[in-house]
Symmetry: C2
Subunit: 374 residues, 2 copies
């Protein structure tokens, strides 16, 4: 027999932290208490709502300052950011790209947009992200070093890059991962979609990859309605990122000349206006999230079977979403917990279905240590 | 010696129509005189700015009613709409897709996003769009009918679809084009990015293709900041369009299951709010554009060498942008005309650089009647 939760204790813990029992509690709710109205209204009053406008430039500059990168390029969403990051990392059709099996589907989709094949790797319990040591062992086994890079011995395909994703805002252990990338000649692209406001060893996430992707979807720490950004410390890559996301049009007073296959991925000015106002409030949001995390940690401290997930060592997490990890004997009751909480109006969700269990990715290569699809 | 324009006469004609001589005249300027602020403010006040919200549904319903299609799906921009239209039309990697050489680069880019090859065809002077008779002759010559469709005799590749684009809002001659598609077993996808408010034989453009794409970029007849829509009269394709543009997630209270490679192409609610307000004013915008077109037509009537382009027979154009066609002997002076007008603050632009003159498309197949790249 599997162990049983004390359902009442779990609900009581949640209720001790949450504002009211009679109100529907969403997973995340954006707050617009700053200059959102003023900036958005300025767009409407001046007519600058679309592809050009001062808020796009302002948002990009302020994002770069906040995250500490040389260049930020605002785009239409996090998936578009990831797609372009992979292109800038040199991912080519037929390449393999290592990504965690435990991620949102956008990471895997973006790989396929490049004509490349996702190759799923395991995550570790301490970070919920890619496990560098395990990865190194795996690459020692299946990787073949050739003069131009790392190849998968089993498939013959080049393994071009790895995309760690900072799950729920908790940073992956980046230093050893950078080492693995150096050793195996892999490009590092950070999927920082969830980790705006998260730091690893004092530096903002997104500074380790050659390029990194942020998301500002409505459920994220700050939102632009829909939006994302490409971060890089390589100024040349930053220029290409801007060019390729704005249809690769060469500047001219009137001519329409484009010099490469480009994308219409630019963030509209009205969405960037929202972003500027939200970014001003980010420190407030982060401290509120940290307080909430502390309250959850205390509330769940005494309950058997559930463990509140805290930021990994060396990291300061944005605590974007708060997570409980169930002890193994209680794992079978995960869906009961989801049902109890959602039934009483406290929205909860499980972690994503792991990528290799989705039908379109079932045949992609993966580390053997990842559980088989059921 | 080539003929010379009367530059003063051209400028005087423009000035007789335009509001003021001391003001910079943009090519197009959006107007927000309706419910834009009320609807956008409602998004901010309720917190519904992102991927879900009532304005997305409302905008889609009202677009479908206005254009007379069964289903409209709002997306992030016109390029995304085109990309998904091509996927829904069954375009596969290695296929060829016929598109006009005379189009905005997005039409050709969208074809490449599917792994397909653009194949450029000629446009006709009466519509500025694809010439159906010329196309039929061409397909008789290079097309090989096999049991599963039309193949290019020269390349061996399947020709899957044709994408007419309604240049500057003027409808292509659709009836004979539909016939050509039937005869040669080609899917018809309308690039109606520029033609919201344009009708062919009394029916809105976008009703002839199996799927069609609209754009609401800031320079379009109505704008959502950035945005587009997929139109279709096939309800099943409409459902797939919605599914594939929203990460192909299957509805569930909490599970994250996706059943195919999807895209994050949904239009954010805050942009749809703008769209709802703009759509209410579309009849006003269209009658103002028609008045402006009449004024230009009269102003340019007597000037040697320039011809104001009027809507084709059987069509009611939205007159999105007003175009002058130069008589052949004056063609060499096009750039002078662009310089004179832009120098005095009246923004003008040439038609796009034809696709086969762009470096990334120079090697794509094309009708031999299209001029060689210079």
């Amino acid at each position: 027999m599997t162990a049983q939760f004390n359902a009442e204790a779990v609900l009581a813990a949640l209720r001790s932290v949450l504002p009211s029992q009679n109100q529907l509690i969403p997973l995340h709710e954006p707050l617009f208490n700053g200059n959102e109205w003023a900036y958005v209204k300025e767009c409407l009053d001046t007519g600058w709502v679309s592809s050009v406008g001062k808020f796009v430039d302002k948002f990009e500059e302020e994002l770069a300052v906040y995250t500490g990168v040389k260049r930020a390029v605002a785009v239409v969403n996090g998936t578009a950011a990831l797609h372009v990051c992979l292109l800038l990392a040199g991912v080519k059709p037929g390449d393999e790209v290592l990504i965690p099996a435990l991620t949102f589907v956008a990471t895997a989709n973006a790989v396929t947009y490049c004509g490349a094949i996702p190759h799923f790797v395991d995550s570790e319990e301490t970070t919920l992200g890619v496990a560098p040591c395990k990865l190194a062992d795996y690459l020692n086994e299946i990787g073949e070093q050739r003069s131009d890079g790392c190849y998968n011995r089993n498939t013959g395909r080049r393994i071009r890059a790895i995309v760690p994703m900072h799950t729920f805002g908790h940073p992956v252990d980046l230093d050893p991962l950078v080492e693995v990338c150096g050793k195996f000649n892999l490009k590092l692209v950070e999927d920082a979609a969830e980790s705006l406001g998260s730091f690893y060893k004092g530096k903002h996430t997104g500074n380790w990859g050659c390029v990194s992707a942020l998301s500002f979807n409505g459920n994220k720490t700050i939102t632009t309605g829909g939006g994302g950004a490409i971060l890089t410390n390589d100024e040349e890559l930053g220029c290409i990122a801007k060019h390729i996301t704005t249809t690769a049009k060469r500047p001219h007073r009137w001519e329409f000349n484009h010099d490469m296959i480009g994308y219409n991925y630019r963030m509209p000015n009205i969405n960037a206006a929202l972003g500027c106002a939200q970014l001003e409030q980010l420190p407030l949001f982060l401290s509120a999230k940290r307080e909430l995390a502390d309250a959850y940690r205390q509330a769940f401290a005494g309950i058997v079977g559930v463990n509140y997930f805290s930021e990994p060592a060396n990291s300061q997490s944005n605590y974007w979403l708060n997570a409980l990890i169930l002890d193994e004997p209680f794992a079978g009751q995960r869906d009961d917990l989801l049902k109890w909480t959602n039934d009483v109006g406290i929205m909860t969700r499980p972690v994503w279905t792991v990528m290799h269990k989705l039908p379109m990715f079932a045949c992609c290569p993966r580390m053997p240590s990842i559980l088989n699809p059921v």
